[in-house]
């Protein structure tokens, strides 16, 4: 499948890529103009990574310049959630200009292909696509790039962690045992590549019945900190998000909840404040 934007790598990047192919493991090079990178990951699919990444990006954009990269080439959710539809433009240096909405620069495979067309690629093509989404996009100048990771511990995760320096990882999970198992695997993987886990976000923590207001813990009520104690994911829990139909509706209509929902706004502001402590916003890039 060809990229519709039709841009070229600079000659220096061509040499870089061929040297990487010859030697096996790539050297990490920072993205031009990007000071910090945070990965939002999970291991398990469907726990709310994209929802969290979207709302977190907007919350953090109040304090610094933020970009949001959708690294899920097979199931790109960010265009829908951030209400970004336009096909990106290319500049005179053949770099893709990321569209901006809600004060956040966005890029996704979903902006480069027909929404109904599947991306049917083996791992090598995925690696190349990820490299293009990282280096073929004019991200800088940017204080923080948030990367919405796909589920799993495979090609995309390896490509990104081997390609660019990463400030840290925020892991998203639900209390469900199968989700936790994958979250711990994810934490293990990031530990193996020496990436710090900045915290956990527990999504779908509980559901308050809109009719009788009783709280239901659909996946059990044991605190997440107890469930991950002693594992690779034993890190501070940054937030507990409830299951709220309004959050689902907001995602589906491309209006992230952090904008109009005061409770969700407060939760993500609090997470943003804690993550800001890990960011280096002063140094030149």
């Amino acid at each position: 499948m060809s990229m519709h934007c039709g841009y070229l790598f600079k000659r220096s990047f061509r040499r870089l890529l061929s040297s990487q192919n010859n030697k096996g493991l790539p050297r990490k090079f920072p993205l031009a103009g990007v000071k910090n990178v945070i990965l939002v990951a999970s291991g398990k699919g469907g726990v709310g990574k994209s929802t969290v990444a979207t709302n977190l990006a907007i919350a953090l954009s109040k304090w610094c310049s933020v970009g949001l990269l959708d690294a899920d080439v097979f199931g790109p959710s960010i265009p829908l959630m951030m209400n970004v539809r336009e096909v990106p433009e290319i500049n005179h240096q053949k770099l893709i200009l990321p569209p901006i909405n809600y004060n956040v620069k966005c890029m996704s495979m979903g902006l480069l292909v027909d929404p109904s067309s599947p991306v049917v690629w083996r791992g090598l093509m995925v690696m190349q696509a990820i490299r293009k989404l990282l280096r073929g996009v004019l991200w800088g100048p940017l204080d923080l790039l948030i990367v919405d990771m796909p589920p799993g511990t495979g090609d995309t995760q390896l490509s990104i962690t081997q390609e660019i320096p990463v400030t840290g990882v925020v892991l998203v999970t639900t209390p469900q045992a199968v989700a936790l198992a994958d979250c711990i695997k994810g934490a293990e993987m990031f530990g193996k590549v020496s990436l710090p886990i900045l915290g956990l976000i527990e999504n779908m923590s509980f559901f308050s019945c809109p009719f009788c207001s009783v709280k239901h813990h659909l996946y059990g009520s044991t605190p997440l900190s107890e469930l991950v104690a002693g594992t690779a994911a034993d890190v501070p829990v940054l937030a507990q998000l409830p299951m709220e139909p309004s959050v689902v509706r907001d995602c589906d209509k491309g209006s992230p909840s952090v904008i109009d929902n005061p409770h969700i706004g407060l939760v993500f502001d609090s997470v943003a404040e804690r993550l800001l402590l890990h960011l280096d916003l002063e140094s030149e890039t």
């Binding site: 097979f74 929404p115 083996r122 511990t153 199968v178 989700a179 994958d182 994810g186 019945c209 689902v248």
Partner: protein, 250 residues
Amino acid sequence: KQWYQRRVRAGKGGVGKSTTVAVLAGTLASSGLSVGVLDADLCGPSLSRMIGLKGSIHSCEQGWLPLSASVGKGRISAVSLSFLVENQDEAVIWRGPKKTAMIKQFLSDVCWGALDYLLIDTPPGTSDEHMTIMEAIPNCSVVLVTSPQAVAAADVLRQVTFCKKTNANVLGIIETMSGFVCPNCSDCGLLFGKGGGKRLAEYCNIEFLGYVPIDPNLSRLLDRGELFKNFQSSASIQSYTEITKKLIKP
């Protein structure tokens, strides 16, 4: 191969593919059938936990022997990467070629025996695992799973396109997480909306197999691997039973 091969896929993560495979397998086996279950999600093999099978795979002269258990009048035999790794917390960090090789081994080197159905649980996406299975079993049928959310349906639409382009036989779409009946007041709340899967089926001209509500009891049983000990106790099992009848009709 004599048995019917069904692949459960979604494109979107976390919509209930593994849950669907586990419950479908249990429903089929309960009625006296011999069902094989293959977990092709190598990085996140949830299925073995859900069906409560643990242990190591042994080999015989002809190849690997799946782990199996009696369920009702029938039997379930399962193969998963979790039966091959010692540390269940350890991440499987594999690139495509290694995953392809593993899937091929699961398909060619396992002594399934006589099966009525082989159910294959796939990871989200359309990558190495899916292409390997399609190439190895071109005549397998596909069951698609989605939650009602638009972001999920959008991913599953891509799956539908993929299936149509590869002439895969799509049996239908299941909409999971469709409504939650409050145990306290019995009113039904729509956590993720309702109807997204049905609308997708109508849009793609594919059979809509049915709705499955959110069922905390089922989640608990799957988390503990006790599904088959208390198989009939969950409300959502009835929904899956109706879906199974549609899937096995001649």
